[in-house]
């Protein structure tokens, strides 16, 4: 870190040559539009396409009303649940890849990354096709049900009543499942990179000193994979909190998340200042999360 800083200070010209283009890019396409939206959040509608930036805080006041705050908290809960499930499912996956034979590892990693090569919208519709009332999941369950019914008859009992498809889509369950499906690779990859760096003889040393597999996992693997766990949690939690497409397509009327509310302000409600205020509340929340993480990693560095 300090070495890179020194280089930057002593080598200003090469640094400028390399950094100008990205800084320009970021300024033009990220900072400038964000600033405009940020300014909108202090404005009010002055006409169908006119916004008067008057410095009012009304938008923020409205955004923190319980109606919106509750949706925000619910989004946070959904994102947190998604992250937790991703962690619980992703850790064994990452462990399995780490301990797989070297010749299998690239293929397993490819399997994790493959979904990235497909458009999110297509993946979501594919999942919906799977989960619909006429989807493969329901057909599979129906098949099992018919089988059970047949067995029932075979045993001399009355056949079961006909299979009624389960409503898998358009509820909170579908939203969490969809979000887990989309975000799992984000969790697996940082976990894998942390576990891959872990010296396997540390695990053997722990076993050798009398610890069982569970104790070794809790006392050696988890603490040493902590940077990967935190990175995975952040990289999953932040986009899940701002998820828009999944709750929009797979959620029901009661499962809208904060991003859906924001979208409505910009489109149907045509209330850009209020949408901007909601957006920035979300961004502030994410800033806090990221600040917490960087504070933690600084603390770890100091402890070393």
């Amino acid at each position: 870190m300090s070495g890179a800083m020194q280089d930057w200070k002593s080598q200003k010209k090469p640094f400028a040559a390399v950094a100008t283009a990205p800084i320009f890019w970021l300024g033009l396409f990220f900072i400038a539009p964000m600033t405009i939206v940020w300014l909108y959040s202090f404005g009010q509608n002055a006409g169908p396409a006119d916004i008067d930036i008057s410095g009012t805080l009304d938008n923020y006041k409205r955004a923190t009303e319980w109606l919106y705050l509750s949706i925000f908290l619910k989004s946070l809960a959904v994102a947190a649940l998604t992250t937790l499930i991703c962690l619980i499912v992703g850790f064994p996956v990452a462990m399995a890849i780490t301990f797989a034979a070297p010749k299998w590892r690239p293929w397993l990693l490819l399997g994790v990354m493959l979904p990235f090569w497909t458009n999110l919208l297509i993946r979501t519709y594919a999942l919906m096709a799977l989960m619909g009332t006429n989807g493969f999941m329901n057909k599979g369950l129906g098949g099992l049900w018919d089988g059970a019914s047949w067995l029932w008859v075979l045993l001399g009992m009355q056949p079961l009543e006909a299979w009624t498809p389960v409503q898998l889509l358009y509820n909170n369950f579908a939203v969490v499942l969809g979000l887990v499906y989309v975000h799992l690779p984000f969790m697996v990859l940082p976990l894998y990179s942390a576990l891959d760096r872990l010296d396997k003889s540390l695990i053997e040393a722990s076993l050798d000193l009398g610890a069982g597999h569970f104790k070794t996992f809790m006392k050696i693997v988890v603490p040493l994979a902590a940077p990967g766990i935190f990175a995975g949690v952040m990289i999953t939690l932040v986009p899940a909190l701002g998820a828009y497409l999944t709750p929009d397509l797979m959620g029901g009327t009661d499962s809208q998340m904060i991003a859906n509310v924001i979208e409505r302000q910009f489109k149907r409600a045509n209330d850009w200042p209020f949408g901007a205020a909601l957006s920035f509340l979300l961004i502030y929340a994410m800033f806090i999360l990221i600040a917490l993480q960087s504070m933690r990693s600084n603390k770890v560095k100091e402890a070393r």
Binding site: D199, A205, D208, L209, A211
Partner: protein, 376 residues
């Protein structure tokens, strides 16, 4: 030494195959309680696999490992009365020295007070007093190794396994640790089983050495026997440096033997070798057991004649290479038959009277008890 003859580890016909590769091929050997046992061999010979099978990290494909009278076939590593010092030391990077050393005791539910005492005792033993609160990344390789040692010793295992314990240390520190390990072993009386590819390490520390080649035991003997009485060409060549010449056994009686080596000359030995007459054999001759003389003065002839018939144990050649190593000088000498023989000569005085150099003609002789006859 608290060495007794009771085997603490019995390895019975153990084989280990990884797919088509046989790493360990039907090895049987006993390790006695209290000894410093070394498994020596080139990399990939199966010695580490054997050690890992004793520790329980690998399961034998065939055969049985018995530790302290108990069959270990179904015993996982965390339940075995052995502890291991890993090649990479495997010191837990997120724990300080005290927590590292106390790890095993805490796991096994030893009281805090006893843990504290035993950790302090172990740190004292490996001379790490005062390092209690250090983190591993604030320590040198040698210090980390001491942490790993203390962490294993504190468990009071029946056997301590060491995987290439000195390979990551620099030469000076390695020599020092060789002595310290031997000293430590003497002090704690625990059986040490060490794996190494470094013959110096094996010779200086071990009470007995098993030389492993291609998954099999090539020879099992105390270090001096290994060096002076190698059982075959592999051991002779692997342990120390050696000149090997092919020949025919022409005389074999209880008190004398002779071998005719086309490349070297006639060899006379003052002891029998119990090989079939006329058999194809190999002569192993250590570089330091060959005496060098200025050619044409008859000194070599007279010296050789002291314990061998005329014309035996003599050779002539030309110095084709030399390397000065401080304590000794190595000479590569081309024999009259064209083969190269290596001779080492101690630099007994600071200015050598007979200053041998490149292209000098030299005579050589050796004593009748120096050559070793190898049948395989």
């Amino acid at each position: 030494m608290t060495e007794t003859n009771q085997p603490i580890i019995q390895i019975r016909n153990v084989s280990k195959r990884f797919g088509k590769v046989t790493a360990v091929d039907n090895i049987s050997l006993d390790i006695r309680a209290g000894e410093f046992f070394v498994l020596l061999g080139p990399s990939g010979c199966g010695k580490t696999t054997l050690l890992r099978m004793i520790a329980g990290f690998e399961m034998p494909t065939e055969g049985q490992i018995i530790i302290d009278g108990q069959d270990m076939s179904l015993v996982p590593p965390n339940k075995r009365p052995v502890n291991m010092v890993f090649q990479s030391y495997a010191v837990f990077p997120h724990m300080n020295v005290t927590d590292n050393v106390g790890y095993g005791l805490r796991i096994s539910g030893i009281s805090k007070a006893e843990t504290r005492d035993r950790v302090a005792e172990a740190l004292e033993l490996v001379k790490l007093g005062g390092f209690e609160d250090r983190m591993p990344d604030q320590m040198s390789g040698g210090q980390r190794q001491r942490v790993a040692l203390a962490r294993s010793l504190v468990m009071r295992p029946k056997v301590l396994l060491l995987d290439e314990p000195l390979s990551a240390l620099d030469a000076k520190l390695r020599a020092q640790m060789q002595f310290e390990l031997a000293d430590l072993q003497d002090k704690v009386g625990i059986t040490f089983v060490t794996v190494t590819h470094d013959q110096d390490e094996a010779l200086s520390m071990a009470s007995r050495v098993a030389v492993i080649n291609k998954g099999e035991v090539a020879q099992l003997a105390p270090p001096s026997d290994l060096y002076e009485y190698p059982a075959n060409r592999f051991v002779a060549d692997f342990v120390g440096s050696v000149n090997i010449f092919e020949g025919t056994l022409t005389l074999d009686e209880p008190d004398k033997a002779a071998v005719d080596c086309p490349g070297l000359g006639k060899i006379y030995l003052n002891h029998g070798v119990t090989g079939p007459h006329g058999a194809n054999v190999w002569i192993a001759l250590r570089p330091e057991k060959i005496y060098l003389h200025v050619a044409g003065k008859g000194k070599a002839v007279r010296a050789a004649a002291q314990d061998a018939p005329d014309g035996h144990n003599l050779a002539r050649g030309t110095i084709k290479g030399m390397s000065y190593l401080g304590d000794v000088t190595l000479y590569d000498i081309q024999l009259e038959g064209g083969q190269i023989i290596r001779v080492s000569r101690p630099n007994l005085s600071r200015h050598d009277q007979e200053d041998f150099t490149w292209d000098d003609k030299v005579s050589m002789h050796w004593r009748a008890d120096s050559p070793v006859v190898l049948l395989s």
